[in-house]
Amino acid sequence: MKLSDLSYETYSSLSSNKARSFLTMLGIVIGISSVIALVSVGQGATASVTSNISSLGSNLLLVYPGSSRNSGPVSGGAGSAQTLTLDDSKAIKSNISGVSAVAAELSRRYQVTYKSNNSNSQVVGTEQSYAQIRNIEVSSGYFISDDQVKSFSKVAVIGPTIQEELFGAGVDPVGQTIKINQIQFKVVGLTTSKGGTGFNNSDNSIYVPISTAQRFLAGRSSISDINVQAASQEQINTAQEEITQLLLSRHNISDAASADFSITNQADIVSSLSSITGTLTLLLGAIAGISLLVGGIGIMNMMLTTVTERTREIGLRKAIGAKRTDITAQFLSESVALTFVGGIIGIILGIAISILISKFGSFNTAITWQSILLAFGVSALVGIVFGYYPARRAAKLNPIEALRYE
C-alpha cells in the first residue's frame, strides 16, 4: 500500500464521520494545549523569579541580622533581629578586600501620602552606593547622596509605581513634598522602571537616607540588612567567608553555628527558588498530562468502535488482497492522523492561551521549544500507542467471520 493510498483512505474515513473525528481530536487538542499553556506558566514563573533576583544586582551578598537556623532563603527571623549596625557595614567596607561596594539598608513599610493620595510602600533607608549595587537608575533628579546621609536630610527618591499612585502617570514628582509616616520629605529623584513583580519590587519603593530613616522613621540604630557587592563572581565565596569571620569577631562570637547574622548569596536564592518553580512546572505539566492521557483513551475508544463498525469492510479488504500490515497501517494512520492534527491545533491553541495569560493575567509565561517538541512527541506517541491495539485487532480479524458480520 502506497503512502498516497494510505493518506487517501485515512482522509476519506475520518472525513466520513466528521463529528466523531472532531470530538475525539478535541480530547487531544485540550490535552496538548493545556500541557503547553501550563508548562509555559511554570517556566514563566521560573524565568521571572530568576530575572527578579538578577535585577537585584550582580554578585550580591546580603547580610541579615538574626541566625539562620532555617536553611531556606526566606528564613523567618531574618530582618527582625536588631544585631547589625551601621558600624558593621563600615567595617566590611574598610576591611574586606574583594568587595566593590557596601550599602547598609533599613527598610520598613510606611504610609506615604501626597495631598489626598496615599500608598503603603516599602521605604528603604540607605546610602549612595545602594544605587550601584542594586542597578538602580534615576530618570529624573538624582539618587540619595552620602552628604544627605551625613546631614539627616529629609529627601526621598521614589519608584515609578509610587509616582503613578501619588502624582499620576507622567507628572514629574521632583521638587514636590510627600509625607512618609506624617513626616515631610522632599522628592529629589525618580527611578527608572525595572519591571518585575513580587517581593522587593524596586519600582514600588521609596529611598531615603539611612540616617534619616533611623532617626525619624524607625527610631532605632540597628539596620535591617547590608548589601555587599563582590568585585567579581569568583570573589563572592571568599568575600562571604571573610565577612562571616569579620562579623563573628566584631560580635564576639566564637562558634559560627550561633552567629547572630546570616549571609545569603544571590546564586543560592536563584537556585532554590528555581527548584521551587521547577517543581511547580512539573506539577502543572503532570496535571495537563493527565488530560492528554484521557484524550488518548478517547482515541482508543473511537478506534475500537470504528473497527467494530467496519468489520465487513475489513473482511472485504482482506478478500481482495489486503495483507495484515495493510490493515494495521490503515487504522494506525487514522489514529496518528487524529493526534497529529490535534497536536498541531493544540500547540497553536496552547501558545495562544499562554500569550493571553501573560497579557491579561498577573504573571509571565514562557514558551520553550522543549515544551512544544515534548507535547508534539507525546501526541504522536499517544496516537501510536492508543491506535496500535485497535489496529492490530482489525488486522487479526478472520476474513470469513468479518465478511459474515452483520
Binding site: S12, A319, I320, G321, T325, P399, I400, L403
Partner: protein
C-alpha cells in the same frame, strides 16, 4: 456435445481438491462440514456449486477462495497448496488469482464507483497512474454507465452495485471469478443480466465458479456440482444447457 468436443484435450487443471475435510470444533462439539471432497476444475470452465443451506457450499467457497484452509486434505490452486502458504502469501493469491463477487456486493458505501474498482489494484501495488484506465476498461466490460463512474456507490441500484462488484473482481485480471449467490439480492431481470455477464466472461476464457442454492441460476453453468451434507452427490456436465430455453422461462 458440441461444446465438449471443441474443447482442447489437454486442459490445465486450475483447481484440485483432494480429500478435503473441514471440521469445526465449538465447545467440544465436533461438526464435520465437508466430508472428503474430491474434484478438480479446469481452466476455462463455468461451474456452479449448488446445495441447500447448511450443505457446506459456503465453507467450500471459502476454501476455494483461499480465505480458509481445510482441516485435512489438499487444496491446490494453480499448482500451489494453499494450506502451506503464509497468511501474506494467501493474501497475494486472493489478490492475483481470484476475483470475488458477493451476494451483498460488499462495496465501500462512501467511496466512488471508481475507487471501489481501484481498491484491488491498491493492494496489488499497481502504480496510481495506470489504475484509472484499468478500472474504466473493466467497468465498460461490466456494462456500467460512464456517467456513474464518479457516483458514490451507495447511490446506485442493486444491479449497478453488482456490476461495480464484478468490475472490481475483474480489475486485476484474475484467472478465476468466484461468485457467492451473485443474484441473491437482485430481481430476476437484473439477475439474469448479471448471469449473462458471467457467461460472457467465461466465453472470454475466464474460469467462473458460481455458488448458489438456486437451480435456475445453476442452469447457466456448463457444469453443476451438487453438494449435500458435505458430500458431492452429483457432478454433471450440463451440455444440454440452452440460453434460449432459459430466456423463455417465466419471470
Amino acid at each position: 456435445m458440441d461444446v465438449q468436443l471443441t474443447k482442447p484435450t489437454t486442459v490445465k487443471k486450475l483447481i484440485e481438491c483432494k480429500n478435503i475435510v473441514k471440521t469445526y470444533f465449538s465447545e467440544d462439539v465436533k461438526t464435520e462440514v465437508l466430508k472428503d471432497l474430491n474434484f478438480s476444475i479446469d481452466e476455462g470452465e463455468f461451474v456452479a456449486i449448488i446445495g441447500p443451506s447448511g450443505s457446506g457450499k459456503s465453507t467450500l467457497m471459502h476454501i476455494l477462495g483461499a480465505l480458509d484452509t481445510p482441516t485435512s486434505g489438499q487444496y491446490i490452486l494453480d499448482g500451489k497448496n494453499i494450506a502451506r502458504l503464509t497468511e501474506d502469501q494467501q493474501a497475494d493469491i486472493r489478490s492475483q488469482k481470484i476475483g470475488f463477487v458477493f451476494q451483498s456486493f460488499n462495496l465501500l458505501a462512501r467511496a466512488t464507483v471508481m475507487r471501489n474498482v481501484i481498491l484491488p489494484l491498491v493492494y496489488a501495488g499497481v502504480a496510481p497512474d495506470k489504475r484509472n484506465a484499468m478500472a474504466e476498461k473493466v467497468l465498460f466490460d461490466a456494462s456500467m454507465d460512464k456517467e456513474r463512474f464518479y457516483n458514490r456507490s451507495n447511490q446506485l441500484s442493486g444491479g449497478q452495485m453488482q456490476r461495480v462488484a464484478i468490475a472490481r473482481a475483474l480489475v486485476n485480471n484474475p484467472p478465476i471469478i468466484l461468485a457467492d449467490e451473485p443474484t441473491g439480492n437482485l430481481d430476476q431481470k437484473t439477475g439474469r443480466a448479471v448471469l449473462d455477464t458471467f457467461r460472457e466472461l467465461n466465453k472470454s476464457g475466464r474460469t467462473v465458479i458460481l455458488i448458489t442454492h438456486d437451480r435456475y441460476v445453476a442452469e447457466h453453468a456448463n457444469r453443476i456440482i451438487e453438494i449435500r451434507d458435505g458430500k458431492i452427490i452429483k457432478d454433471t456436465h450440463n451440455v444440454s444447457r440452452q440460453v434460449k430455453h432459459l430466456e423463455e422461462q417465466p419471470k
